[in-house]
């Protein structure tokens, strides 16, 4: 579980079905709601990944939500690697036994399936966080996304959008300057000062941890699969008088399960919070930009007052900037505290489950190995 959502039942969103086609995935988004806005209490639409991204970007660009952490967009579904492996298996080695081949195929299929389920989960949790947030759930685009029966025609980035993306990256580096304190902007609030330093470091480290957790999981999977040819070969080395009654594929299945549980409980969680902490950083950028605007407005007001020209517009501009900054600061404070409690509760749950699953697998492995030893030794 990535996020502990204490939403109310007035708006429940889930992905009830998903279909993977050649190069895209179609998600069926089902909504159950008693809110007056919707025409029905229960309805579904079919959405593709790009439409999720459109929705996410719409939130990000909306000034109203500048003071909120926008739930991170789900990553693109990527079956390339898995498909390649399946293909390679199909073309491959005629020297492996039929049994081994079937087993390897089964493993690869399970992997493919796991990737599929994960991408569904990522898209679902994105929508569910939106539905649980008191402000974000009321967004008009969100309603359209949930309800509008036709597709939203947002497929493919057109030139304007590509350009937009490019500009956004330039803005990003300016933000980096702000947040790392290089721009000389003075932070006025201790809470935010602490959050800034914390988030900068945290984000880098959690991304690092996630990458390394991925590598551990992959090596573990490799290792598990190594037992497939080994157990088959070992069994064949027994004879009729002295058989080697080894379980088919020895510990492969259990080791494989350890790997996938590590993946789910650890890697996925770290990855999610790496993205969520980036979203939190984005919030801090926006607030700092507002602070910068506010400072500039102050300076402009001073200048206007000195020159005694256009004081009124300068005053109202300064007031606006001040209000905006304060609004952002207030909601950002709440959002950051929510982020912390969300993160802590999620880590707690996943770490407990990770430990419990590791124990379960270790005990199962022990049992399997001990039983095998009994059979081999031929003792009562």
């Amino acid at each position: 579980m990535l996020v502990d959502l204490q939403g109310d039942s007035s708006l429940q969103v889930e992905i009830s079905d998903a279909v993977s086609e050649r190069d895209k995935v179609k998600f069926t988004v089902q909504t159950k709601s008693c809110l007056p806005h919707f025409a029905q209490t229960e309805f579904s639409v079919v959405r593709q990944h790009e439409e999720f991204i459109w929705l996410h970007d719409a939130y990000v660009e909306n000034e109203e939500y500048a003071g909120l952490i926008i739930p991170p967009a789900p990553p693109r579904p990527d079956f390339e690697a898995s498909r390649e492996k399946l293909q390679k298996l199909g073309e491959g080695d005629s020297s492996i036994s039929r049994e081994e081949f079937a087993k390897m195929k089964q493993e690869l299929e399970a992997e493919y399936l796991a990737i599929f389920k994960k991408t569904v989960a990522m898209h679902e949790v994105f929508l569910q966080r939106l539905a649980a947030h008191p402000t974000l759930r009321r967004d008009h685009n969100f309603f359209v996304f949930l309800e509008y029966g036709q597709d939203l025609s947002v497929r493919g980035k057109n030139r304007k959008e590509l350009l937009g993306g490019f500009l956004r990256n330039i803005v990003k580096s300016a933000d980096e300057a702000l947040i790392t304190g290089m721009s000389g902007l003075k932070e006025v609030d201790d809470f935010f000062e602490h959050e800034r330093t914390f988030l900068l470091e945290y984000h880098t480290r959690i991304r690092d941890a996630c990458l390394r957790a991925d590598r551990v999981m992959r090596s573990h999977k490799c290792l598990a699969d190594d037992y497939i040819p080994i157990s088959a070969a070992l069994s064949r080395l027994g004879t009729q008088e002295v058989p080697f009654p080894l379980p088919t594929f020895l510990t492969q299945k259990l080791e494989g399960r350890v790997a996938s549980d590590e993946d789910l409980k650890l890697s996925d969680m770290l990855r999610y919070y790496a993205r969520d902490s980036q979203a939190a950083k984005d919030l801090l950028y926006r607030r700092l930009r507002a602070l910068a605007d506010y400072e500039n407005a102050n300076k402009a007001l001073d200048r206007a007052r000195t020159r005694n020209r256009e004081v009124r517009p300068a005053e109202s501009h300064q007031q606006l900037c001040c209000q905006r900054f304060e609004r952002l600061s207030d909601s950002a404070k709440q959002e950051l505290m929510d982020f912390k409690s969300r993160r802590v509760s999620s880590f707690r749950k996943n770490l407990i489950e990770l430990a419990e699953l590791e124990l379960k697998h270790a005990k199962a492995s022990t049992l399997l190995l001990r039983n095998t030893l009994v059979a081999l030794k031929g003792k009562p």
Binding site: E14, E21, L86, Y112, R215, C222, Y227, F244, T248, L376
Partner: protein
């Protein structure tokens, strides 16, 4: 989350039911089939479809209960099957059960250079057959250890000396416990002597460990790094296994050269074993000549047993080579896993440091510690993988080469016999010619030669029958030993895996309360 998802299409377009991920055969196919036929064993339980979605959402609390019913089935089955049950027979042999020495796991896992405890004592099967083979009625009891590698000398003339310790109650030895210092070339010298005496009469002489110019040079030059310590340890273990195998052979055990090797404090230096010596080059030339000869000998095999066996050994050779490659991959991947785990442990520690929630921070540091310990475990397991498994396979691959050599010697023996018969025929023809040409002194010479060659033909036939008989016995012995060896190693290996799992349980059990303490 709803349960119905249409799974992604795979190459064949067949929709797989992703709810049912249990393979039909599952874990205990071979054992379950032996036990299921017993009337007392339980019915195979119907497997509930394993619901992965439950796991992935993690909404169900993970109790430590096996969700795989087949595993439970097996557990029940072992309890129910009693000693009297007829199904036990295929597993219990009719001979007294082998006295398997319980091996302490710590000894297996930490390969320390100086320790003798790394070497498991040789496990002997007190089978009736072996006791019969004893010429002097001693209980076949001898233990060999190779330990304490010590560098002697400096520079390119340096070498490693190993302590060879023998513990025995056999009367042919003057003491019951003694040790000597030997260097690698001494072992090679021993093998060379034994091979020259016994190989050509059909005995399978265990091959000595391989030379390694690169490895040894590093040690000589004094590189004190982990790769040279590993090399020395690998060699020490190989020498020990070599001696253990050699003394297990009842005929070789009686050999005076072997006794001298084990007992005498001074041994004449075996110079002919150097790779680049004159003798070494001569050996290489002979090997090449042999290979050519083998191709040209066409033997009329009157005994199908030999053909069958040769084919079997060919197959076994291939199987072992493949398995060896797989095990090397395993060792490699485990080492990778170990280093990746260590890297993750570090980044988890860093993350813990960054985390500003105190309890979570502590839990993350604990996680980092657990992962570090797990990394250690992986390393140790990798050693076990290697020393138990991979090396055993290499040994057997070389042993099979020796077996093939013995079969080749039989062919050469046959060729000699055949040649003698041909020569005898020629001598008889000569005699007949001389008789016709009436040359009395030549006739006498021819008659002498005929007698000479008749004896040679008889000898050739006797030799051939002897070598065939010896090989039959040797092959029988080899096959028994092989299976026993493998079984022992598989058992040891599985025990090391159990050990690792036990440790994992300890570590995660210690971590769980820390995770639960996050408030």
């Amino acid at each position: 989350m709803a349960a119905e998802r249409e799974p992604p299409p795979l190459g064949d377009g067949k929709p797989t039911d992703f709810e049912e991920l249990e393979d039909g055969e599952d874990l205990f196919t071979s054992t379950v089939s032996t036990l299921e036929s017993s009337p007392s064993s339980p019915e195979p339980a119907s497997l509930p479809a394993e619901d992965i979605s439950a796991n992935s959402n993690g909404s169900k609390p993970a109790e430590v209960v096996l969700d795989d019913d087949r595993e439970d089935l097996f557990a029940e089955a072992t309890e129910e099957v009693s000693l009297d049950s007829p199904e036990r027979e295929p597993i219990l042999s009719s001979e007294p059960s082998p006295a398997v020495t319980p091996v302490t796991p710590t000894a297996l896992i930490a390969p320390r250079i100086e320790s003798k405890s790394m070497s498991a004592p040789v496990i002997f099967d007190r089978s009736r057959e072996e006791i019969e083979e004893e010429a002097n009625g001693d209980i076949f009891d001898i233990e060999i250890g190779v330990s304490d590698p010590e560098k002697v000398g400096d520079g390119m003339n340096a070498y490693m000396a190993y302590r060879v310790t023998t513990k025995t109650s056999l009367s042919m030895f003057s003491k019951s416990e003694f040790s000597v210092k030997r260097r690698f070339s001494d072992f090679l010298g021993l093998h060379s002597k034994l091979a020259s005496k016994y190989l050509h009469v059909g005995y399978i002489v265990p091959p000595a460990p391989e030379k390694s110019i690169v490895g040894m040079t590093k040690v000589k030059v004094g590189k004190e790094d982990s790769s040279s310590t590993e090399f020395v340890e690998k060699r020490r273990a190989a020498l020990e296994r070599y001696l253990q195998r050699t003394v297990k052979h009842p005929i070789l055990l009686q050999d005076p050269d072997l006794r001298q090797f084990l007992e005498s404090s001074e041994l004449p230096r075996a110079v002919n074993t150097q790779a680049l010596s004159g003798a070494g080059i001569l050996r290489m030339v002979n090997k090449a000549a042999d290979a050519v000869n083998k191709m040209t000998i066409k033997m009329n095999e009157s005994d199908a047993w030999f053909e069958e066996k040769q084919q079997q050994f060919e197959n076994l050779d291939q199987q072992l080579r493949k398995l060896h490659a797989s095990v090397e991959a395993l060792v490699c991947h485990r080492k990778e896993l170990s280093s990746n785990t260590a890297a993750f442990a570090k980044s988890a520690a860093m993350l813990g440091n960054s985390e500003d929630h105190t309890a979570l921070s502590r839990a993350l540091s604990q996680l980092a510690e657990v992962e570090e310990k797990i990394d250690q475990l992986h390393q140790e397991q990798a050693f076990a993988d290697f020393y138990m498994f991979s090396e055993l396979l290499s040994d057997y691959i070389r042993l099979i080469a020796a077996v093939k050599g013995v079969f080749d010697h039989r062919m050469k023996c046959w060729q000699k016999w055949e040649d003698a018969q041909i020569t005898l025929l020629k001598k008889r023809e000569t005699e007949a010619k001389m008789t016709v040409a009436n040359k009395p002194d030549k006739i006498q010479q021819a008659k002498n030669e005929i007698r000479e060659w008749e004896a040679k033909v008889q000898q050739g036939e006797r030799d051939f029958e002897q070598i065939s008989k010896t090989i039959r016995k040797e092959v029988g012995r080899f096959e028994k030993e092989r299976v026993k060896d493998f079984k022992t190693v598989i058992i040891k290996y599985l025990e090391s895996l159990v050990q690792t799992q036990q440790q994992l349980i300890k570590y995660w059990e210690a971590f769980l309360p820390e995770a639960k303490a996050i408030a």
